[in-house]
């Protein structure tokens, strides 16, 4: 029983992290139609920026997290405006651009910070204990921030003009533009929002786990898996799928072991694709 509860706690905290990542990933796809291969790179970059601020500049950790969000969002904005923007209608070209950017980013991090894991710690440690079951404080903090960020994102998208504009662009770009929406401003904004979320997740999660140039690849793979499951471009689907992936990962790893757990997730996703090729909450995918 305690194992069951413990797995549930782990699953939810994993799910919250995955949700932040998958929301950004699916946001970029939904609005711009871009598959962002550099998403894991922005997670890694967020971690390194926060680390550099704390370790090299002596800034307090919460400020460092904000700096990481700002840096990754700014870089996302610039990258979209200067590079993606020119080719935004060509899916394959934008995919390759983000892949190229990712390769450059990871080489740069390797060059600057070296291959070894950094000494980067979360300022809060300890755990809440309920008998044999525990919830690490740092995970609770991250969970809180994740849920707040998800709520904030929801508010932005559904309660503000910019959000309405973004969703209109995602629904039908041609119609939205005909009605006077300006993608020149909105596209970079959406991209920056998404990369900022990835940077936030990186800044929050890497000090809890570890920070090395290798952390980006698994993040990318998990984001892929989550959005395939949730339905590419669907925000609700991404959030739902993120918690499913987190909980399945936690329970299968606890009850069947680490490598079988990964295989179960993959098989689950493949099976879903047989029966629902558009994912849980996905619509017919835009023509590619």
């Amino acid at each position: 029983m305690e194992q069951f509860l413990q797995a549930g706690i782990i699953g939810i905290s994993l799910g919250a992290q995955y949700a932040l990542l998958a929301l950004g990933f699916t946001l970029i796809f939904g609005i711009l139609g871009v598959v962002n291969f550099s998403h894991g790179g922005f997670y890694m970059l967020g971690g390194y920026v926060a680390y550099a601020c704390v370790d090299r500049l002596g800034v307090p950790y919460p400020v460092a997290v904000l700096a990481a969000v700002g840096t990754t969002a700014a870089l996302g904005w610039v990258f979209e405006l200067l590079l993606i923007e020119r080719l935004v209608d060509d899916h394959l070209a934008t995919l390759m651009l983000t892949l190229g950017l990712y390769l450059v980013m990871s080489t740069a991090m390797l060059e600057v910070f070296g291959p070894l894991a950094m000494d980067f710690r979360f300022p809060i440690t300890g755990a809440l204990r309920f008998g044999p079951v525990y919830a690490p404080l740092e995970n609770l903090v991250v969970l809180g921030i994740c849920l707040t960020a998800i709520m904030g994102l929801w508010l932005v998208l559904f309660r503000t003009d910019i959000g309405r504009a973004l969703r209109a662009l995602a629904d039908d770009r041609a119609v939205a533009m005909a009605q006077g929406l300006r993608p020149k401003l909105l596209f970079p904004a959406a991209f920056a929002l998404a990369t900022g979320l990835a940077g936030l997740t990186g800044a929050l999660v890497t000090p809890i786990l570890s920070l090395s140039p290798g952390v980006a690849d698994p993040v990318l793979a998990t984001s892929f898996l989550t959005v395939i499951l949730g339905g590419l471009g669907s925000l609700g689907g991404a959030a739902l799928a993120a918690f499913i992936v987190g909980i399945v990962e936690a329970y299968s790893s606890v009850y069947f072991g680490g490598s079988i757990g990964a295989l179960i997730l993959f098989v689950l996703v493949l099976l879903l694709l047989v029966f629902r090729p558009t994912g849980l909450l996905g619509r017919e995918v835009r023509g590619a």
């Binding site: 590079l83 394959l92 390759m96 190229g100 390769l103 450059v104 793979a221 898996l225 490598s259 295989l263």
Partner: protein, 322 residues
Amino acid sequence: MSGSLLPRARLLGGAEIAAILVFAACFAVPMMTKSVLVFSVLNQALVGVVAAQSVWIMLRMNLMSFASPAFMAIGGYTVAIAGQYEITNVFLLTAAAFILPALVAIPLGALVLRLRGTYFVLVTFVLSQIMQLLLFETPGLTGGSNGISGIPPVNVLGTDMATNRQVVLFACGIALLATVITACLTRYFKQHFAAIEENEILAESLGLVVWRYKALGFVVAAGIAGLAGFSLVTMLLTAHPSSFDSGTAVDFIAYTIIGGRASILGPVVGTALMVYATNLFGTHGQYAQGLYGVLILVVVLALRGGIVGTVETLVRKLRGAS
């Protein structure tokens, strides 16, 4: 261009013939030099080019596949396992290395090809990760994390391909075969692939049975990747999971994009240059990834045709000027 009004007018175009001639010429290299370094770099390039052609076939239809390492693994492990039963006949092994991955690709294709382009990318990425897990989880068949070592050399008409030179000659043969298959396929269905690349929905509404050509391309691309796996395993004498890591898919895609995706010479030129450049980095292997990244950005932003496309345009301009 010729053939645009008359589909299938000519079986092979200039680029295809040039690509085939390149690999025919490769047979001469081992006769001209004894340098093990030349053999080694050439051999790596000959393996890479076959894998890049597998990627290129799918790119003809605007589909980017990350699944090539998975099919390479099927081809490579087929040969390694056959070797344990002392099956070394080159014709038997070549057929098996092509056909088995192609057979596996049929049900997978039925599943994956229902998906539009972007989804396809993500799912093929996941497929190559599943293959890694399957290799680890089946130690009885694939040797698990240890892989299979001590594979006997391939036997070509009574001769064992045991020396570096012979292995390079064998790799030339596989590359030539893969190029001929790729050239025939993409040339024969040139119009169909082009129609799918241009606008799949339009092609479908005009009566083209799109899934049929996509499935055919996927299956042949899987077979070609299997041949690359065969060539790789023969070069290393070992089938090891790390050789089929999902990350290597990025390399093959980079070769193809940088070389140019419009012509079959693209993957050939791209692979040759990138393998050569990677070897130049020596102890600084990590920079190769950065170089790929920069070159991909440059090609996508500035030189849309890749190296081959850019050279073609230049030549055309020069001709026009003169």
